[in-house]
Symmetry: C2
Subunit: 304 residues, 2 copies
């Protein structure tokens, strides 16, 4: 099966601790590498976990709180020093220009690659990127400032041709495409060879959704329905439910409720408040509502 991996680089939150790094994740889909959020120190985490910085194709910044993007200047500078020439696409709310542009101007003459700043629409559901095998879209979250979640999808792959069978039935080349898409083969003499004798199933589609930072917001359920892996922030435990609501964050139980409503397959929680030295209590809480819950931890890799 083709590669679809999520690597946690940082799963702390705004107040830095010695236990967790500010938020950042890597998403690898069929060898295409994307980053979600880029808190301070992210480039150091990439090195620590031996991520191939040069393979980075695009960055998705959920919202403009510093813990989600203060690592950008350092990352961009290092990519420049490494001699990058490919464009880098950054999907973020438009105001990021105010903070990035002076930096880019300052570095300008040294940068040998172009940065494309693609503004996120904080209101709507939007397709951001699509090619023959992947699809990345965004949807609004509910936070103190405009914030967007992301859905990363590896499309269902076509059925796989069984070479020895198509040779045996002398299937003409021009019919192979239809057969990959599920068609039976009708021979010149009228014989029908059913598709399942000529092919094996392709890979099903797989999807990963990232929801942080957000208050409890059932409105996101349609956008994350049935995903194979959901990352949902769980800044607080239920005992801090009021504080979570005040700060437009979620509790571990709320994250699990969303996972249950959206009928996702697996839930990963993160963006832990600095008050928790021991994050097991957050897991315990999530599991009570959604058994297939896991903790994000720096360096952990999730395979879809």
């Amino acid at each position: 099966m083709s590669q679809f991996q999520v690597t946690i680089l940082g799963c702390g939150s705004a107040m830095p601790t010695t236990l967790h790094n500010p938020p950042s994740q890597l998403v690898n889909m069929n060898g295409k590498l994307f980053m979600i959020d880029c808190g301070e120190g992210t480039q150091l985490q990439m090195r620590k976990f031996k991520a191939r910085m040069s393979k980075l194709q695009g960055l998705f910044i959920s919202h403009l709180h510093g813990d989600h993007f203060f690592g950008l200047p350092g990352l961009i500078t290092t990519l420049s020093m490494l001699g990058r020439t490919n464009d880098l696409d950054i999907y973020a709310h438009g105001e990021i220009r105010l903070m990035l542009n002076p930096l880019l101007m300052y570095l300008g003459h040294h940068m040998q690659f172009k940065i494309n700043l693609i503004p996120l629409n904080p209101e709507g559901h939007e397709l951001l990127l699509e090619d023959e095998s992947i699809r990345i879209s965004t949807f609004p979250l509910k936070h103190r400032i405009p914030a967007n979640g992301f859905r990363f999808e590896v499309k269902k792959s076509p059925r796989r041709i069984l070479r020895e069978k198509v040779d045996r039935y002398q299937v003409p080349v021009e019919q192979l495409r239809a057969i990959k898409e599920g068609a039976d083969f009708v021979a010149v003499d009228g014989t029908v060879v059913s598709n399942n004798r000529l092919t094996t199933p392709g890979n099903p589609s797989r999807a990963y959704a990232y929801c942080s930072d957000t208050a409890y917001h059932p409105g996101i359920v349609p956008y994350i329905k049935g995903v194979d892996l959901l990352f949902h922030e769980a800044t607080f435990a239920e005992s801090e439910r009021e504080r979570a609501a005040e700060t437009y964050h979620s509790t571990a139980r709320e994250a699990a409720e969303i996972a249950k409503m959206a009928e996702v397959k697996r839930l990963v929680i993160g963006h832990y408040s600095s008050r928790y030295n021991e994050i097991g209590i957050l897991l315990k809480e999530a599991v009570e509502t959604f058994p297939n819950s896991e903790l994000a931890v720096e360096g952990k890799v999730f395979d879809l």
Copy 2:
């Protein structure tokens, strides 16, 4: 003796590695806490080494290469979240405004403390700060962009009164100041009591100089003459002397030559190029020219 400590938070250089953090140091003089340079991840290093972030009084940024200041946004934001109300003085080249102002504007309404940006003069020797016990000055280095070194000095403290002696000789209170400054006591009847019977020596002055980033530049010697501790960048070994000159950096031997010329007491080298996994070779080289050389390492504390 009053406290004068230098703590290394980061002693790597521009290309991040898993071994060293981007440059930053803390200087504690009589309980007044200052920071020199603030590379990405510095606030995380402060937490790691249990530095009292709230006690930070001023920051000195040597030059505007990203590895020396990308940690500022995160540090400022965290100070704000911690509820700081005292002003924070940042001494840096004026162009830093371009990069800091948008950030401060963005954070603006949440910041309960004022940042004073005091521009550095890249040309001259200047006094930056002085009070009754400390003096901080700056001087030009030789780098690809304007860069300044810093000299931190704890002033010589006045002589210490021996209480039982001044009582015995019935020295009037109004003469104590002169005695602290070295005067003898002349009694009403003409008896002279010499100063060294009334006082013990105060502390001598102590000085720390920070020189990074810079090419080999004997012009700095007058500004760092006789300091107790000199930090001088040693990005490269002598074998890379040409590369050092091209990039306006120094070799370990050159750092040691400067230390020797300036007759400093101790030399600390740092700002290691990412090419050195093993920094012992840099120390070896420095020691050949200046025996009292040491390596900077993250977390190491130097007492003056």
